[in-house]
């Protein structure tokens, strides 16, 4: 685990999802001012010199203390960001080799993003799915919305299989305006199916960030002895000798992940792999870094489009 970040096991020990998200975000903000990555934020663009008559609430007093000049921070509400969080709740997400499952981790991360974005004034929506859409909350930024979102995330797993087609289609239909779509899933589905449905999102012009959550044991395939493994979704089972099967398994998994990453790159999506033992504030940092880079990229694309 990376030094200086909160151990996810400690965070996951907190039972309340909202509190978990709050702990991560506040910890993140506290670290922000000491961080070398100072200045990154959702839709944070620039400091603007204070003009007489402006609301003094937006003066950055810390910067004033340092530079003795008045600057105003330009916040994201000026950009009207709408974010859709797509959270996979399928049965395969219930696998765990740690004290918590992939689904727990994904929910917490989604809650963290929601808390963070809501704190910045963004409209956050949620779409949970397994083989079909389970819950949908349109992006809003109003009182009580975050609470509803947390409740939707806390609902237990009910699905059996994973089908990205229907959820991604629905997300594309529902997000008519250009939005940011964050997909949190293990993406353990045939690569052809993934490619087909992701392409639809890209065509709609949305900004897409994909987090692939995987259990450490899914990467390592460590079992103490030969055993019968049972597929969480299809219930098929067969005998596995981990020693013999590990190399082949890791190779094929790596091929799958590489293929997913390649598709994401080709579609202009940001792709991050999130082993469930990765600190959540680090994952949040990945997201913000993506936003920073994405903001510049989008701007360039927009400019080039305007020029052309």
């Amino acid at each position: 685990m990376e030094k200086g970040f909160v151990d996810p096991r400690a965070v996951m020990a907190i039972r309340n999802l909202e509190l978990r998200a709050r702990v991560i975000v506040e910890g993140f903000w506290n670290g922000m001012h000491r961080s070398p990555y100072h200045g990154f934020s959702v839709e944070f663009t620039e400091y603007r010199p204070y003009s007489l008559g402006e609301d003094t609430r937006y003066v950055d007093w810390r910067l004033y203390a340092r530079s003795d000049r008045y600057y105003v921070r330009r916040f994201e509400e000026e950009t009207n960001l709408r974010c859709h969080l797509l959270v996979d709740q399928s049965r395969s997400m219930s696998y765990r080799s740690l004290d918590y499952s992939k689904a727990d981790y994904a929910r917490t991360f989604a809650a963290t993003l929601a808390w963070f974005l809501n704190g910045q004034g963004d409209a956050v929506g949620l779409l949970t799915f397994d083989e079909r859409v389970r819950d949908y909350l349109p992006p809003r930024h109003r009182r009580g919305h975050l609470r509803q979102l947390m409740l939707a995330l806390e609902r237990s797993l009910a699905g059996k299989s994973t089908s990205l087609g229907e959820p991604l289609r629905r997300a594309a239909d529902l997000a008519r305006k250009r939005s940011m779509i964050v997909l949190i899933s293990d993406l353990l589905a045939p690569i052809e199916e993934l490619e087909r449905h992701m392409g639809r999102l890209a065509a709609a012009g949305h900004e897409v960030v994909i987090f692939q959550t995987l259990d450490p044991n899914e990467l390592a395939l460590e079992f103490p002895r030969a055993t019968r493994l049972q597929d969480a979704e299809s219930q098929t089972e067969f005998y596995i000798d981990p020693e013999a099967a590990r190399v082949d398994y890791q190779r094929r998994l790596q091929q799958h992940c590489d293929a997913v990453e390649r598709i994401c790159r080709s579609l202009g999506f940001d792709f991050y792999r999130l082993p469930t033992n990765r600190p959540l504030d680090l994952a949040l940092f990945d997201f913000l870094r993506s936003r920073g880079r994405r903001g510049r990229v989008v701007r360039r694309r927009t400019q080039s489009t305007a020029v052309s």
Partner: protein, 681 residues
């Protein structure tokens, strides 16, 4: 090691079970959920030698558990501890213990018991030593071991059977505990290696049997008791027993109380009690209970009467007898001329300490003339020489007298009564004295031998006389003052006894008369004098009846069946072997005594054998096993006894439980370890 049930050893094949299950379990399909198998290909299972080694401990424990259980069921024992092998011709010691108590008088019961005893006698082997004993409230020998040994082997069974035919049930109660322990002690000592000792108890095993002496008794290890219970055809039995008359009752007319006991297995609860030729009444007694009733009015004027109970099935305990208590006339001779109204004199207190009771009329004769028929003579001081001689002769004839040394002038009188030349009596100096020592073993003080009543130290003796007994005196000091001088002493004079009190009980001498100790002390003294004992009129079977005449002509005793016996006066009658009215005649007097069955004998419901087992009686195998003398069966019986004594199966089962516990602990630990390993990766 040998086995009593070796066929159970076949169960050892069950050890294959754990082995097979263990192997199956190794290949068992232990399912582990996984997120997706899309990147996995099935791999055939490999033989895991390491896993097999890990579980070998569990396998061994499970096999050991099965084998230990099998071992326990096979009932192992060590044959080396078997006592000397009995030959085919026998060699055991057998006591046939036959119940001859009153409850065996029920219809057909004793015949059954006799038949069982005869069967045992017939099956004795030539090498056996046998004895035939009967018991009721004590043990009676019919055929002893010595008789058995003296007879020829071919004649023993027949001769013993002949003796058995003469045995009949009596009227006594059942002391089962005493009978068993006495029978156990009746075995002759083993000359060499211990021999098997078998007591065959043939009894109705009634619940009213007394089991005294069985609790905590150490039975010899080679002794077994085989119980042969005989059951009556009917179960409804109730008995009636007469209670002791009230101390105020002086005749049958004063009423009597009876107790009616109903057996716990009885099906009836309504009975009728009736005096012979008199009134009757119905009584209700639920099964298993004993209730007391006031009997109806008996026939007028009878000195004795008979009460019968009807309504149950067994008649043996349906009759009880009542004899009216005797009214005693007791005379006390006070050899003094004191005024009875003078509170400074002894007589004043003496006539108040002996109140008359309904069954005892006391006459206190004061004067200088001695009443020859007096029970007790009290001498308050000096007497003349003639009086002394008369009194001494009277005492020597077996009477009791009390001389109170009210002053030192009584010395010549005391000397004369003791036939001594002189008696050293002087007024004691000092303020007052207390009783320092009291001999509570003396019958007069025995009733006070209890911490609640034994405190005599509060009685002050203001004036007393010091009696220096001559060396070698035979006087027994019953109480002594705190300076060691005698307060009350007993001197035997001829057949009688003279008590010497060295201080008076009147207030000028002491506080004795106003003490709470005075009335019981004087009453005890009067009873101890022998002529004023409380006369009982009701007795239970087996008790001796005290002679109604202390001295004089012989007493003629007549039993209920008319048989007569003459006993000297004072000799108790011990021949009460049947219930009824016993009559004693002497010197023109006649007195009736009632002898009844103990009421416990009416409780005839069978006693559970478990009760004997709970009391530690070494109950043996069933009758057929013990009675048979076939060599194989005898051997088997002996093996069974040996196994029952060693009880190795308990150790085997205990060990199996311990192994099972260890298996559970180790298995749980291994399973938990495996679970932790799975979740940790």
């Amino acid at each position: 090691m040998s086995f009593l049930s070796p066929w159970f050893l076949a169960g050892a094949l069950a050890v294959a079970g754990p082995i097979v299950f263990h192997l199956i379990r190794r290949a068992a399909r232990e399912r582990t959920p996984f997120s997706s198998l899309m990147f996995l290909r099935p791999t055939p299972p490999r033989s895991e030698r390491r896993s097999r080694v890990e579980h070998i401990v569990l396998l061994l424990l499970r096999c050991a558990c099965v084998l230990l259980i099998v071992l326990g069921f096979a009932r192992p024992f060590f044959a080396k501890d078997i006592p000397l092998p009995q030959s085919a011709s026998g060699g055991r010691r057998l006591i046939i213990l036959l119940d001859s108590s009153a409850s065996m008088r029920r219809a057909g019961l004793f015949d059954k018991a006799r038949a069982i005893a005869g069967r045992y006698l017939d099956k004795t082997a030539p090498g056996d030593q046998a004895a035939l004993l009967t018991f009721d409230n004590q043990l009676h020998s019919v055929v002893g071991f010595a008789d058995w040994a003296a007879w020829g082997p071919d004649q023993r069974a027949a001769l013993a059977r002949a003796k058995l035919a003469t045995v009949a049930p009596g009227w006594m109660g059942t002391q089962l505990g005493v009978a068993l322990t006495s029978a156990s002690d009746a075995f002759p000592a083993d000359s060499g290696a211990p021999q098997a000792r078998v007591i065959v108890l043939i009894s109705d095993m009634q619940e009213g049997a007394r089991l005294d002496g069985l609790q905590g008794r150490e039975w010899p290890p080679n002794t077994r008791v085989v119980v042969e219970r005989v059951d009556a055809k009917t179960t409804s039995n109730a008995g009636v027993g007469m209670m002791e008359p009230s101390p105020r009752a002086v005749s049958v007319d004063d009423g009597a109380h009876v107790r009616v006991a109903n057996s716990s297995d009885s099906t009836k609860e309504k009975f009728r009690i009736a005096w012979t030729g008199g009134a009757s009444m119905d009584v209700y007694v639920p099964p298993g209970q004993i209730r007391t009733f006031k009997a109806p009015a008996p026939p007028k004027g009878a000195a004795s009467a008979r009460l019968e109970l009807t309504g149950d099935d067994e008649p043996f305990d349906n009759t009880t007898y009542y004899a009216a208590p005797e009214v005693q006339d007791v005379t006390i001779s006070y050899l003094g001329a004191d005024s009875p109204d003078d509170p400074t004199k002894l007589l004043y207190y003496l006539q108040r300490v002996f109140p008359s009771a309904p069954q005892r009329r006391i006459t206190l004769e004061a004067g200088l003339a001695l009443r020859p028929d007096a029970a007790l003579a009290v001498v308050p001081g000096a007497l003349t020489g003639a009086q002394c001689a008369e009194l001494r002769d009277w005492i020597a004839a077996g009477k009791t007298a009390l001389i109170v040394l009210t002053n030192a002038d009584a010395a010549p009188t005391l000397a004369a009564l003791l036939s001594a030349a002189d008696a050293q009596i002087a007024e004691a100096a000092g303020d007052f004295a207390l009783l320092g020592q009291v001999d509570f073993k003396h019958p007069i003080f025995a009733p006070f031998d209890d911490p609640r009543f034994s405190d005599f130290s509060r009685i002050h003796f203001w004036k007393r006389r010091r009696w220096d007994m001559p060396p070698g005196s035979q006087a027994r000091v019953m109480a002594a003052f705190d300076d060691g001088s005698p307060a009350l002493a007993q001197v035997d004079v001829g057949k009688g006894r003279l008590l010497v009190l060295t201080s008076g009980w009147q207030p000028s001498d002491s506080e004795l008369a106003v003490s709470t100790k005075f009335p019981p002390l004087m009453d005890t003294l009067l009873q101890w004098s022998g002529s004023a004992r409380a006369a009982r009129s009701q007795f239970r079977m087996g008790e001796s009846i005290p002679s109604p005449a202390a001295a004089g002509a012989p007493v003629q005793w007549e039993k209920p069946d008319g048989k007569q016996t003459s006993l000297p006066a004072g000799a108790a009658y011990a021949g009460a072997d049947m219930p009824g009215i016993y009559r004693a005649q002497w010197s023109g007097n006649e007195r009736a005594f009632a002898v009844n069955l103990p009421l416990e004998e009416s409780r005839v419901a069978p006693l559970s054998q478990d009760e004997l087992g709970r009391l530690g009686v070494p109950l043996g195998a069933d009758a057929q096993q013990v009675a048979t003398t076939a060599p194989v069966s005898a051997r088997q019986s002996q093996r069974a006894e040996l196994e029952a004594r060693q009880k190795l199966w308990r150790w085997a089962i205990g060990a199996a439980l311990a192994v099972a516990l260890a298996e559970i602990i180790i298995g749980g630990w291994l399973a938990r370890g495996a679970g932790d390993a799975r979740t940790a990766t």
